[in-house]
């Protein structure tokens, strides 16, 4: 909601096993951003955002 640039999916891994395999989903929840692993498990908001900004803002 906060950004027009973000699309967020909930993906039920057992119904889409090809995706679970593509991203190497071993445990849930797992968050992927732009095809790259962002978080394993549930992170606090600040940590999740820090990971996201690091991923999208190189240097």
């Amino acid at each position: 909601m906060e950004s027009d640039r973000i699309v967020a999916d909930m993906v039920e891994a057992t119904e889409f096993p090809h995706l679970a395999q593509r991203y190497g989903i071993m445990g849930v929840p797992k968050t992927v951003a732009n095809e790259i692993g962002l978080a394993d498990g549930a992170l606090p908001e600040a940590a999740l955002i820090a990971n996201l900004m690091a991923l999208t803002d190189p240097g």
């Binding site: 950004s3 909930m10 039920e12 891994a13 679970a20 849930v28 999208t56 803002d57």
Partner: protein
């Protein structure tokens, strides 16, 4: 058989009293229904019955190509939670267990038009200079 148990219906209906603006659930399924497509559609129908502010639109993944393209749906069952606009919130697969609660919270959040995020987060997100596709993988609990 209803998906939402009676006691849960009451809880959800009470939560839905917080709804402000109307919310649209846009559900994508297909004729030859995929795994959980029928159940997801039924669940969305039950949720929609719990508030006058929630409406349901249903599209066929194969036949309704315009809608599929508009909402960038690449797999089904899929449900979009839309408020005054499409915020890019999608549920792929059936949202049961813990994810049911997430769906209800998202409906309320979209209706209120407020993400509920911290000010620092909002500031950081405003600096985003590229598209981000988040996928949160879950399993039915």
């Amino acid at each position: 058989m209803a998906f939402i148990q009676d006691k849960d219906r009451t809880v959800v209906q009470t939560r839905f009293e917080e709804l402000d603006q109307p919310v649209k659930l846009i559900n994508f399924t297909q004729d030859v229904e995929c795994m959980y497509c029928r159940e997801t559609r039924q669940l969305m129908e039950e949720i929609t019955e719990l508030s006058d502010k929630i409406t349901l639109e249903e599209y066929d993944f194969v036949a309704d190509k315009d809608a599929v393209k508009r909402y960038s749906i690449d797999k089904i069952p899929a449900t979009v939670v839309e408020g005054d606009k499409d915020y890019g919130i999608r549920f792929f697969g059936i949202p049961t267990g813990y994810e049911f609660g997430t769906l209800i919270e998202d409906i309320i959040m979209v209706s209120k038009g407020d993400s509920g995020l911290e000010p620092e987060t909002r500031l950081a997100l405003a600096t985003l200079n590229e598209p981000v596709h988040l996928q949160v993988f879950v399993t039915p609990t």
